[in-house]
Amino acid sequence: MAAQVGQLGDGERRKLLAMWETAPGLYGWLATVDHKTIGIRYLCTAFAFLLIGGIEALVMRVQLAQPDLKILSPDAYNQLFSMHGVTMIFLYALPMLSGFSNYLWPLMLGSRDMAFPRLNALSYWLFVFAGIFLYISFPLGQAPNGGWFAYVPNTSRPYDPGINMDVFALGLVFLGISTVVGAVNFIVTLARCRAPGMSVNRLPIIVWGTLTASAANLFAIPAVSLACVMLWLDRRYDTHFFDVAGGGQPLLWQHLFWIFGHPWVYALVLPAMGIVSDALPVFCRRPLVGYTLVAISTVATMALGFGVWVHHMFATGLPVMSLSFFSAASFVIAIPSAVAVFAWIATIWTGRPQFTTPFLFFAGFVMLFVIGGVSGFMTASVAFDWQLTDTYFVVAHLHYVLLGINVFPVIGGIHFWFPKMSGKMMDERLGRWTFWLTFIGFNLAFFPMHITGLMGMPRRIYTYPAVLGVGDLNLLSTVGAFMFAAGILLFLFNVARSLRSGAPAGNNPWDGATLEWSTTSPPPVYNFATIPQVASRHPLWEDRLRESEDRSIFGDGAAHGMLLDKGKETIGVTPLDAEPNVVLKMPGDSLLPLLLSLATTVLFLALLGQFIWVAAAAGVADFAILAMWLAPQPHAASEEVDVHG
């Protein structure tokens, strides 16, 4: 039925709502495939893991506040530092960014959902269950205890006979499925599910960042999954991948682990750098300077990231030729990062800074990025790394890059997009307090570690003697850590209070440029009543930027645009130029993702207990559920797409 020309009626909106809305009650909660709900779940769950990992860190900092303290036994400490690493690196850092991307991508790209909504739900459920799985032995005092890097033979059965490292190995394989599934969804969504006109040179940088990270994950995760399978087999089935008595090689673990590990750390920061590249310009009242350079540098960093893994192995006695190559490559990889830093500074310089909370976090991020970057530059030098590696200098470096380049943009990003997600504004005064507490606390906690590292304090130690002379600096770090934690608590309080009683936000409180700001806050469940048509990188700024005569078409009352209301539908486009070429039918609520995740959990629990037949049965259940999921449904071969107006 043709809609009124130039006006979208309430009836039309109600029709879309009926088709897209999640069912009410428990069923809907378990079966939803709405990317916005899933995105928020990712954000909340990842943040919960941040808090858990943070508490682990605070307990460690108490133990390390002074020399020779006996608050923690070495065994307890080893479990804490291992789980702190696992939690932060696997259960917080990437899922948090996945949450942002999940929520934002369809809105930014002008689509109604991700390419595979049920797969999206699956990646979330797998993440939650894998996270719980990794903690399953923690209450028993048998948490993974070999470090997040789990070097063999220290984590082989003779030296670590309990279930600690089996939980680790199987847990990472389990979590890896979630990550790969999520990565596939991002890649295919980007390739095909965008609004007409959203060509690749108009994509927000967070999309470039997440896309790059996802492509990298496809190629990196199998390395660590393979290594973990080998570790588990060595430990429980007497194979000899790493076991020297049978001709195995301990360094094989390190190669496989770091072939994954190095690209992984770029996956943890590139999307966050994208958050800054998209949001900072809004508070500079101008587009990002050097968009093309920044997009290319994102991809270049990730590509180079596959060629530097040996810099984690500089002290292992590899041939000098190999060490020299990887050291040189580790210097080169700083070049694209320099591009990004100068682009951000240029954007601020040529813009008009608005001192909102998000701006503070993004400006602070630039400084922390550079500090983390130069400490990385220092460790890139193989000869100097022979002194720096395995000292607190590396601990300083990794925290500057992980908190500086992931956590700070994340908190800034939450302040930025909270109004869109909830319809309420966060409190600015509390936000400023949050920034200063976290920024000062962070630097107080981690800057001294550069110095203790240069003084030779080793890492991964549960205590240290007074004679090393690092007691005072460690005390300072502990104080800083608690100050940072206070900032995080204040942030949580701000979020909670703002959800209840924050000022109403309206569609576009920050006067942002991209399509998500064209919807209501929060957006309707179907995102766009009519699919937008995109003419530039900054659809909402076109009238003022006047880059060309073309204008994007968007908004609920849009005069032109595809309605796609013959079911739950969105438009598919060509990969590069975003020409519409297919109507994509989106699935409704489904319990299959949850069921598949539960069956997979049973599978991994069975493997942990070595109940192989139970595991096989769970595998068969997995297959059956997949068959139901993928079963062909009859549908029309083609469809007439009404262009509203």
């Binding site: 033979p153 500074i345 240029a346 310089w349 008009r352 590696t389 130690i461 930027l545």
Partner: protein, 327 residues
Amino acid sequence: MRRAFLAGALVGLTGCAGEPLGYFDTAGPIASSIANLGIGLTAISVAVCVVVALLLAAAIWRRRGAGDAGIQPVNDRQPIRWILAGVALSTVFLVASAVWTLATVQATLPPAHPGLTVDVAGQEWWWAVKYESSDPSRQFTTANQLVIPVGVPVQVNLTSKDVIHSFWIPKLGGKMDMIPSRTNVTWIEADRAGHYRGQCSEFCGLQHANMAFDVLALSPADFQTWWDRQLQPASAPADDPGLTTFMARCAVCHTVRGTDAGGILGPDLSHFGSRSTIAAGLMPNTPANLSNWIDNTQTIKPGAKMPELHMLAGEVADVTAYLEGLH
């Protein structure tokens, strides 16, 4: 020998009182070469941070003409040129640093003819040290200490008996991992006499934190004296009560040359009295500390492979006296 040891300890105590694991106050050519590189890289890093901080501050607070905070058309030709200039300048420093790094690697390659070869095997959580010699009768084993002659390049053959450890004497040079079933070769050289600290630098389990060792650099003459002394058998009389207790309770795991004690599960304790620390660099070697260690092993170093012995006070005193007498 005692005199040499005291001299070394004195030098050590004054020379590196504040930072025993620091690597800018160096005592050998490798460490010194690396330290120069390190100072250069640190200087560049600090400079970069300062410049960026200034640029960021300027970008944020620079004077802007009066005008609205609205979105306006932009022309980014000039800013992009600045970005590229900044990247070009950064590249120059990166390339220079890479070249300096590779030059340092070349400068610290092992010499063709080491003056001395020592085999060090790491195990949880101590160091087995064997001095090589072309004359087999001059080879000997010790533990948790490395004594070297000043001015002589020493080749160190590294391996592990269990998990991966890492051999590190910051004041003399960089780290090298000790990997089971593999021999990694590194080399060290001291250019002045002194007492230095070594530390395990690869997470190796419960007591990784307490796996250190002593390094003593002596003049070549003193070093020879020390070596000759190490080859002497133990000299306590056969009915020494400490020796008797030692044979009954300790010889299962420990060796003392010149006695029937031949255990190899724990550190070789020959000439224990001349060592400066106990339990892999954990505490100074004094009678009080030694008695405490024998009595409360698992409290002091929980998880160590040496069990609680539950010896009588008298037995502990006897063994302490015996071991301290092994100079």
